[in-house]
Amino acid sequence: MSEIYQLTLCELVDKIKTKEISCEEVTKSYVDRAKKSEKLNCFIENTFDQALKKAKDQNDKIDNKKKLFGAPFAVKDLFCTKGTQTTASSKMLEGFKPQYESTVTSKLWNEGANLLGKLNCDEYAMGSSNETSHFGNVINPYRNDKDLVPGGSSGGCASAVAAHLTSATVGTDTGGSIRQPASFTGTVGLKPTYGRCSRWGIVAFASSLDQAGPMTKDVKDASLLMEVISGHDDKDSTSAQKEQEAFSQKLTKDIKGLKIGIPKEYKIDGMSKEIIDLWDKGIEIVKSLGCEIKEISLPHTKYALPAYYIIAPAEASSNLARYDGVRYGFRAEGKDLIEMYENTRSIGFGNEVKRRILIGTYVLSSGYYDAYYLKAQKVRRLIKNDFDEAFKEVDTILTPTTPSSAFGIGENVDDPISMYLNDVLTVPVNLAGLPAISIPAGYDQNNLPLGLQLIGKSFDEQTILNNAYAIEQSINFKPNFKDWWM
């Protein structure tokens, strides 16, 4: 490791504690690199000066008890950060400075990390390519003769981690928004069990699906971050009554005896040979590590995406009703209250958001509730049942994360459905509320990264972390892009 910014989160925290490097050096290293990387458009707002100042103060006050001491941390611009602009990548919240800090980010700062800036994402977390942001597209550090998407909605997070613009980050995952971009950028992304991390202070998209999670350079970092950000929060009624767990301390690559399920329905029609090969490679690796492979069936898999595109927009249409120009955020002119609302929301929201609000409103409206929303909730039950059945036989489930590698910017914007299909392998997990992690598994023929996904039982993040750790150590994936944007 030649450059400080290339260190993993765990490595740099260690080296800070042993005084091999200083907090200030670490932050400066990331800040310098981030300043040269504006082309990637990962940052909506930066707090470089404050971060440097904090790091300087930390230099002489090393606290060994703090797990992230000195780590410079940019976070998805969906987390409310006190006194720092939080936009959800929308014009609607441009300039909005919350007077409160989200629970998850509070935990980061309490463990000694410093806010580096707010990362670009799809507007209100709605998207799979980071092309719906009011603040412009994020570019993937991986390239294929043209600009590629980093995935979404946590595209800015994935790109920033991959390009070493932050030591690690936290994103959110509602239908795959952590895992899919991790797969597109050769990084690690973990969506915890629903309820594992608090949603308080995170701009809400789909309340029964949203979860915050770590996006990191490797699995060990992810396990450390999980340890920090998890835990029950009294302010969130959907927060599980489970305390923080020492995930990083229990991390091991010894997964001998683990039963791993391979769901046949995840072998989608038209799935490329490269992905199937990578999947097979993963299977071989775990076999060689002493795991037992079982073919399983998750029969309702293909209905997950349609169910998701009823449930998520429905909840979003209600969650986004508060953005009305009255108490904060953007306000347009209007001759009366209704006109003000209509203009504000028409100008303040982008097209994808408006699409989802309209569909969500439609499926909840009088006469359609049973045919759509209620039906989708029942299908959701069936999808969860599928997993519950499968987990009676296996401990984890191994699948590819995405049906393809990163595509070109602008390639998929014409038809919403083709964009939605990016999440076909990740969405069932959100509906069932289960934990899942994506790790980089290899490259496709265009030299673009692809990820493997491990799905675990409820609250069994430890097992999928261990499983992922073992595979990661075996694959030894190395990023192969050059800093073409500098």
């Binding site: 409310c80 959907t238 909840e315 249409s317 909840l364 509730y369």
Partner: protein, 488 residues
Amino acid sequence: MADKEFDYYLKGEKGEYEVVIGLEVHAQVLSEAKLFSSSATKFGSEPNSQVSLVDAAMPGMLPVINKFCVEQAVKTGLGLNAKINTFSKFDRKNYFYADLPQGYQISQFKHPIVGEGKVILDMPYGTKEIGIERLHLEQDAGKSIHDQDPKNSFVDLNRSGIALMEIVSKPDLRSPGEVGEYIKKLRSIMRYLNTCDGNMEQGSLRADVNVSVRKKGSKEFGTRCEIKNVNSIKFMQQAIDYEARRQIELIEEGNEVDQETRLFDTKKQETRSMRSKEDAHDYRYFPDPDLLPLRLEDSYIEDLKKGLPELPDHKKQRLISEFKLSNYEASVIISDQAVSTYYEEVAKNSDYKLAATWLMGELFATLNKEGKDITESPVSAVNLAKMINLIKDGTISGKIAKTVFEEMIKNDGDPSKIVEDKGLKQTSDPKEIENIVDKVLETNQDKVQQYKSGKDKLFGFFVGQVMKEMKGKGNPQMINDILKNKLK
């Protein structure tokens, strides 16, 4: 005992009509903090000083339920003889308005916390049972002020998020009179339970009134209109009367009554249609994904049941049977829990009937005059009881007692002492009275003759004269008896 018949039928040109009324009462829960947030609920505070981030619907905010509000709803349900649902859910009612920060109200749609119950009304024509359909918990909205500025409205969110109990009656009410009694009964029950203060002027109790009409004797329901947000019994009654007549007129002209939402204009005393868009009623209810279902244990409900105070209906029956009060007296006394507590203390320590008479007579008159309620009574229960005992044992007459009472009002003085100090003891010495009677009859020979020849009314004159001589301190009964004797 019914001494009248129900008679609220409205005469149209083509017949008589019956009015069918259902009420949706919104009662603010008495609690320190709001339903889903920890801000205060005090009335009349500085604008926007009792608003948390959750109340203002800031990005990322989430609701957490106040367990005491749940308790208050259950207690109210028990007071309404209703079924408490051990499983209930919270739903979002989606609509846009400036005083609704979230763009939805957290309410209960399909599974309310309380199910069917009933309330008994005492009407002049007998008792009547009014069915309760359900009671559910929901958030109150903020307040918009429209008259401060020609172009803008001002929004105060203090009230936003306060817990409301919505009590939905079955369409069993048939007159403004019944509506008045129903509201009073609900208010009384909730005040006894301390779950709502029932203060209509402050808006802690208000109602949406559903009115329809039908030909007398018909069993079919007519189309109903909803009159929203009426905050006094008087206005409700005026609104119902106006609305019913409006509908009758429409029907008799051959038109149909449109189902719509109306407002009551208190100045013009008319209802008028609200300018509502056709979509106004599509609330798109769905279960709130930020909350989990509410499950109550049977033991929890039992415990609350055991801890309930005696409720108005039960207390009334007890006052009638134990204290031998009339239906009317009992009704008046139980209408306020503090009044009945006061009454029982006085009655148990003196005389049941006299206690009722003095309470409902002189004491109420005094309280009214001074604008006070029973908890601020200038005369304590202890002293009132003492005074009544002085009447009972003949120390003073009822008439003298009035004087004593007036003294007591000044500083809750001990009646015995007052009687002592002012020399108000009544004279019950037969010899003394006889002397004065003789004297009076002597001085009024002409009137005695008139009396003896048939002018019975003069008896009162003689009593009056004797009392005057005795400076009001004569024992009236004794005066009566002795006079009667002498005039035989």
